[in-house]
Amino acid sequence: MNFVDYLFENVPNLYKECILSRDGTLTYGDLIERVDALAGDLAIKLGQGNECLLLAENTPFFIIVYLAVIKSGNTALLVETRIADDQLATIFRECHIRCAFVQKKYLAKIPDTCTIFTEDNLPTPSPSKTIDFSSVKDDDVAVVIFTSGSTGTKKGVMLTHRNLCANTGSIVQYLGLTKEDRICATLPFFYCYGASLLHTHLRVGGSIVLSNNIFLAGALRDINTYACTGFAGVPSTYQILVNKTPFLKEPLPTLRLMQQAGGQLPNKYIRQIAEAFPEKHFFVMYGATEATARLSYLPSGEIHTRLGSIGKGIPGVTLEVIDEKGNPVKPGETGEIVASGANIMKGYYGDPEGTQSVIRNGKLFTGDLATVDEDGYIFIIGRAKNIIKSGGYRISHNEIEEFICSLDGVAGCVVLGLPDEIMGEAIVAVIQPGNTPETISKEEIHQHCTKHLPSYKVPTAIHFVKEFPLNASDKVDKQAITASLLSSKQKKEEGG
C-alpha cells in the first residue's frame, strides 16, 4: 500500500486542524489537496521511481513535498539542513537526483545541476486530474534517510512503503495514540525519530505543532499555547529542559505523554522527570534509522522498576540479545541486539556490502551491546565499536558516564577512549557542570570515581565544557569532541 494513502486512512474530517505553527494552520483538507496536486504534477512530469532531494526545516513546505514525492511513487532523499558541503556534493555525485526541493535559506548549498524548487516556486497544481498511483509496490523505496553515523561517512538508509507502514502502526499501537493527540514537534523530520512523529500523528488523524524555536524553552510555551498532548526528545532535549528551563516545575496540564529515544538519557534525569510528572506517561524507547525508527519501548509503568532499560521489542518486532554463537544471552551476560520485523530497511543506498554486514538472514545486527534481566527487559551497555579498550580491559563508557552524571553538580558527561601509548586507549571524561560557577571540581569528581569505580575505569583526564557540540539530530557529537581533544593534545605536544 502506498504509505501516504495509509497515513490518510483515518482522517476524522477535512476541516480538522492538522499542521499548526506560528505561521498558520493547515487542515487535513488543505494538506491532502496540496499533496495530491503536487504528487499528480510530479507523476506527470517525472514519472515514477525517480529520486528527489529534500532539504528543509520542519515547515509545511517540507511536509507537502515529502508526502507528495512518496505518494507519486518517487523517492524522497532526506538530508540534514546542517549537512557539510562536501557530503552534499558526494550525495549529488552518487545518487541520481532528478530534482531538489530546497528551503530558500539553504539554496546556496545546492549545485545548479538539477531542477530546483523552493517554497516560492513549487509546481502549480494542475487542474484536478485523476492520477493512478496504484502501481506503487510495497517494496518500492519511499524514502532514503542519510544518517549521521558514527564513522563520518553518510549512509543512505532505504526505507520502503512497507517499512514505513509497519513501524508507524506499531508505534501508534504501543503509545496508544488517537485522533485527540497533538504532538509538539521539535525534532527535525529529516531524522527518523522526527519523521516518526509526523507519520504516527497523521495516521491517527491527530495534529502536529511545528515548534521551531530559537531556544527549547519555547516548546514549553507551545505545549501550553496549542494544548499539546505529546512531546518527544532525544537525551539532550531533556537535559537542556531540566538544566536550563523551569520544565520540571511547569504543570503542562494538557500533556499526556513524553517520548525519549535517540540515545541513553542518564537515569538521574529519567527519575527527575518521572517524579515531577507522576501522572504523565514517560516512554523510554530505542531504535535505529535502519529499523525505520523504533525497535523497543519500556512501558511507562515500568520506569521506576526497570530504570535504565530500553524495554522490549515493539509490536511486530522480534528483539533479541545474542552471543557470538547466535544464542540468546542469559541474564547478566552481554551480547549484541539483533532485530527482525517488517520495519527493517531494504538496505543501504548503493552499498550492498554495507547492507550485508548489518543484515544477515533477514535480521538487523544493530552493533549495540546489551544485557537482559530475568524478565527479558533489555539494558544497553554500549556500541560494539565504541567500547574502550584500555590496559587490556574492555570498558563500557555508559557505566562511567552514568556514575559521573549521578554526582551533584554534574549536568552531563561523555566518556571517550583516546589513543594512549601505554594503555592503548586512555579514558577521558568530558563533563558539563550543572552550575555556574561550578559547585564540583575536577579533583572531587576524580576522588568520587576512585572511590566507587574499579581503578581501570577511572578517567585519566577530566575536562569541563560549557555546552556539548550536538549533531544534526541533537545528539552529543562525540566525533567533534574527540577531534577537538586530539587537536588540543597535539598542539600541547608541539608547543611543549
Binding site: K105, N213, I214, F215, K244, T436, K466, E467, L470
Partner: protein, 79 residues
C-alpha cells in the same frame, strides 16, 4: 550600552557563527541565517552570560531572534 560591550557581543557572534563582523547587522536573524541554529544560540547565550557575569531570563533568551533584539535586550542587563 558602551561601545566596548557592543564590540564584545559582536565578537561572540563572529566567533560562534563563524561569519565576518560586517555581516553582523541588526537585521541578522535566526530565521534567515543558516549558521544561527538553536545550539549556536545556546552557545552565544552562555558566552554572553560568562563574559558579562549576568544571567539572562528564559523569556529574553527566546526573544533574542535577531541581532538588533539581542542588543536591545542586553541593554537592560548591562546598564
Amino acid at each position: 550600552m558602551a561601545s566596548f560591550e557592543e564590540q564584545t557581543i559582536k565578537n561572540i557572534f563572529c566567533e560562534v557563527l563563524c561569519i565576518p563582523a560586517e555581516e553582523i547587522t541588526d537585521t541578522l536573524a535566526y530565521n534567515s541565517c543558516v549558521q544561527w541554529d538553536s545550539l549556536k544560540h545556546l552557545q552565544i547565550v552562555a558566552m554572553i552570560e560568562e563574559k558579562f557575569e549576568i544571567e539572562i531570563d528564559m523569556d529574553d533568551i527566546i526573544a533574542m531572534e535577531n541581532y538588533g533584539k539581542v542588543k536591545e535586550i542586553l541593554h537592560k542587563y548591562l546598564t
